[in-house]
C-alpha cells in the first residue's frame, strides 16, 4: 500500500503512514507533530489463531499500531504539550496523554516527606502529610481541565491558520477522574477565621507557582486531589498533590501543592497580574477571570484528515463549560446557515467534557462544518466576531469561540474559520 493510499483509507492514517516509513526515531508527520515511533513494534502474527500468544505481564502496553502522542514542540522550562484530541474516544484522557503546562519544569517529588502547610487566618496552623490527606473521606469526580490559553492560535484578525491540527489548536484540554478530599473538609480541620475571603495556593516546583483563590470556591467544590484515573496523579499533573478547581482555568489549579495561606485579600502574584489577565479593547484588563466559558470543538473531521469519499460520516467532538452542564451542542454542515442538534453521549456531567456526535452524509461538495455549545446558564458559544467585539483583538486567554473546518471537494479538511470572516 503506497503512502498516499494509506492516508486515504484510514482515519488515523497520517500517523500510521508516517510510522510505516520510519524504522525508528522521530518522524515529522504531515501535520506539525513530531511523532515518536517505537523502535521495536511486535510483528503481527500472520494467523494469530495458529500461534500461541504472549504471557501475562505486570504492566500493559498499547497495541503496536496505536501510538497516540502529546504534541511537545517546545523543550523549555516554561512550556506546554497538547493532548491528541483527534485520537481519543469518549471523554476520558489517558493519564499519560493529559496535556501539560509547566512554568519551571516538572519537579521530582517523593510522596514520603511531601507535606501541605495550611496557615494564615486559621484557628490552628497545621501540616498534613500525604497519609493524613489520604485518610480524609474521599471524593472521585470526572472534571475537565483546560489551559486558559487554549485555542489562541485561531484568534488573530491578521490571519487564521488553516493547516493546523485540532491537537495543536485545542489540545490544552483533558478530562480525568480525579480523586481527593474536598478542600472544605480540610479547612474545617484547621478552622477558618471570620473575615477570611481568599487563599494563596503555592506549588513545590521551581516556579513556586502561586495563585490567589476566592475562599468561596474553596468551600464549594475544590478538591485536594491525589488520584487520576484510578491511580496516583502523574508527575506532570502535580504528583503527589494538586489543587482541583472544577471548571476554572488550569493555571489556578496549583500542582505539586505544598502551601495554602488563608487571607483576607489576594496576593497579586505574577500569574494573576502580568499573566493570566485578559486585556480588553477599552484599555482595561480583566483580572481573576477564572471560569472557563462554554466551548465545543470538533475532533473529526479535522486537518490533516482527507475524507476519501462522499457518503456517511460521523462528525464528533467535545463540549464543556465551567459553569455547570452542557445542555445542547448544535452542528452545522453548511457554514452556519442551518444548525441541527447533535447527540450528547451520556453521561452529561457538570464541569466535565461531553462527547457529541452528528451523523452526516457528505455530498462531495465543498462545505464548512461547525459546532456550537450551550450551557445551563443559557450561554451560547460565541463566534469569533462576537469575542472580538466584546474583548478586542488583543486579549490573551479564554478563546472559546466557535471552530469551523472546511471540507474541500477532494475531501481535504482545513481549519475554515478564515473563510467565515
Amino acid at each position: 500500500m503506497s503512502e498516499e493510499n494509506a492516508r486515504r483509507f484510514s482515519r488515523r492514517a497520517w500517523i500510521a503512514g508516517a510510522s510505516g516509513l520510519a524504522a525508528a526515531g522521530l518522524v515529522r508527520t504531515r501535520a506539525d507533530a513530531l511523532v515518536a515511533v517505537p523502535r521495536q513494534a511486535a510483528a503481527p502474527a500472520a494467523d494469530p489463531t495458529k500461534v500461541p500468544g504472549r504471557f501475562t505481564s505486570e504492566v500493559g502496553r498499547r497495541a503496536a499500531g496505536e501510538q497516540p502522542r502529546r504534541l511537545a514542540r517546545t523543550q523549555a522550562l516554561s512550556s506546554s504539550s497538547q493532548s491528541p484530541l483527534q485520537d481519543l474516544m469518549g471523554i476520558v484522557t489517558p493519564s499519560d496523554l493529559h496535556f501539560e503546562r509547566h512554568h519551571a519544569g516538572i519537579p521530582e517529588i517523593a510522596k514520603e516527606g511531601h507535606e501541605l502547610l495550611i496557615h494564615g487566618m486559621v484557628e490552628r496552623p497545621m501540616v498534613f502529610s500525604m497519609s493524613d490527606i489520604e485518610r480524609f473521606p474521599r471524593v472521585s469526580r470526572l472534571y475537565f481541565i483546560e489551559c486558559s490559553g487554549n485555542g489562541g492560535a485561531a484568534y488573530s484578525r491578521d490571519g487564521m491558520p488553516t493547516e493546523i491540527t485540532v491537537q495543536a489548536l485545542d489540545g490544552l484540554l483533558s478530562t480525568s477522574e480525579w480523586t481527593g478530599v474536598p478542600l472544605a473538609t480540610v479547612l474545617r480541620e484547621v478552622g477558618v477565621r471570620r473575615g477570611a475571603s481568599w487563599l494563596l495556593a503555592e506549588g513545590r516546583d521551581a516556579a513556586m507557582m502561586s495563585r490567589s483563590i476566592p475562599l468561596e470556591k474553596a468551600m464549594d467544590d475544590a478538591l485536594l486531589a491525589y488520584g487520576q484515573n484510578g491511580e496516583a496523579i502523574r508527575p506532570e499533573q502535580g504528583y503527589p498533590l494538586r489543587l482541583m478547581l472544577p471548571g476554572w482555568e488550569g493555571n489556578s489549579q496549583i500542582k505539586w501543592l505544598r502551601r495554602i495561606e488563608v487571607t483576607d485579600r489576594p496576593t497579586m502574584t505574577r500569574e494573576e497580574t502580568s499573566k493570566y489577565t485578559d486585556p480588553l479593547g477599552n484599555g482595561t484588563a480583566r483580572q481573576f477571570s477564572f471560569v472557563m466559558d462554554a466551548k465545543s470543538t470538533i475532533t473529526f473531521p479535522t486537518y490533516p484528515y482527507v475524507l476519501p469519499e462522499r457518503g456517511w460520516w460521523e462528525i464528533t467532538g467535545l463540549a464543556w463549560t465551567g459553569r455547570g452542564r452542557i445542555t445542547r451542542v448544535e452542528v452545522s454542515t453548511d457554514g452556519g446557515r442551518r444548525w441541527v442538534d447533535a447527540v450528547l453521549q451520556a453521561p452529561v456531567l457538570p464541569k466535565c467534557t461531553v462527547r457529541f456526535r452528528h451523523l452526516w452524509e457528505w455530498d462531495g461538495r465543498e462545505t464548512i462544518v461547525m459546532s456550537r455549545a450551550t450551557d445551563e446558564t443559557g450561554y451560547v458559544q460565541p463566534t469569533v466576531q462576537q469575542l472580538w467585539e466584546a474583548r478586542g483583538d488583543r486579549t490573551r486567554y479564554h478563546f472559546n469561540h466557535q471552530r469551523a473546518w472546511k471540507v474541500a471537494r477532494d475531501g481535504a479538511v482545513t481549519l475554515g474559520l478564515g473563510d467565515l470572516i
Binding site: V127, R138, M208, E261, P279, T284, A285, R286, Q287, T377
Partner: protein
C-alpha cells in the same frame, strides 16, 4: 492505615445508606449513590489528622509578598547595584537592557494606544510588590532563589528605573517598594462574565 481508611469508608457508606433508607430522605437513592462533597451526619467536628505547624515552620515557608508590603524582608538595594545584578543574572533571558528578550520584555514605554503591547513591567504590571514576590520565588529561572534580599531589592530598583518609574537615586526596601505607584495600576477590572445570554 490505608486498609483501615478503606473499611471506614465502606462502613460510612453502609450507615448512610441504612439511615437514609429508614428516613426515606432520598429520591431514587441518589444521595446514597453519590454522597459527593457532603460529610455524613455522624462525621466528627475534627478528624484529628495532621500536626500543628510551629511558628518557625510557618515563617520558613511563608515567603509571599502582599501589595501592602506584608512579607517583605529586611534589606535594601539601589539602581546602580541592581544594574550589576541584572548583568550577571538576567541578561541571558531578558537581554542587555531588558528589552531584547528572548524571554519576557521587562522594559518599555510603548504608547498607551498600543496597550497592552508587549506587557512590560512599566506598561502592564499593576503592583511593584509582585516583582519581589516573583523574583524571590522563581528567578533566575535556572537558579531560582539565588538572589539575596539586597540583590532582589536592587534589581527591582534597576528594572523600575529603566521603566522611568523611579529616579536614578532610588533605594528600594520594605518601606519604599509598596509605595511605588505603577502606571497600569488602575487598568485592572474584576471579571464581569456571569454566563447567560450576553457575551462578555
Amino acid at each position: 492505615m490505608r486498609r483501615w481508611a478503606a473499611s471506614l469508608l465502606v462502613f460510612t457508606a453502609c450507615v448512610a445508606s441504612s439511615e437514609d433508607a429508614r428516613e426515606g430522605s432520598t429520591e431514587e437513592g441518589t444521595d446514597v449513590l453519590d454522597a459527593g462533597y457532603t460529610l455524613p451526619a455522624h462525621a466528627p467536628e475534627r478528624f484529628g489528622l495532621g500536626s500543628e505547624a510551629s511558628t518557625g515552620r510557618v515563617a520558613a515557608w511563608d515567603v509571599d509578598v502582599k501589595p501592602d508590603g506584608e512579607g517583605l524582608p529586611p534589606g535594601r538595594g539601589t539602581v546602580a547595584e541592581g544594574e550589576a545584578v541584572f548583568r550577571i543574572h538576567c541578561i541571558a533571558c531578558h537581554g542587555p537592557t531588558g528589552t531584547e528578550g528572548p524571554n519576557d520584555v521587562l522594559v518599555g514605554t510603548e504608547p498607551w494606544e498600543e496597550w497592552p503591547g508587549s506587557s512590560t513591567v512599566g506598561g502592564y504590571w499593576p503592583y511593584a510588590t509582585t516583582l519581589y514576590d516573583y523574583i524571590a520565588r522563581a528567578m533566575p529561572q535556572i537558579t531560582p532563589g539565588i538572589l539575596t534580599p539586597d540583590q532582589t531589592y536592587a534589581v527591582i530598583a534597576y528594572i523600575l528605573h529603566r521603566n522611568d518609574i523611579v529616579p536614578a537615586d532610588a533605594v528600594m526596601d520594605a518601606q519604599t517598594l509598596p509605595q511605588v505607584r505603577m502606571p497600569a495600576r488602575d487598568r485592572f477590572v474584576v471579571d464581569d462574565r456571569r454566563g447567560g445570554a450576553e457575551v462578555r
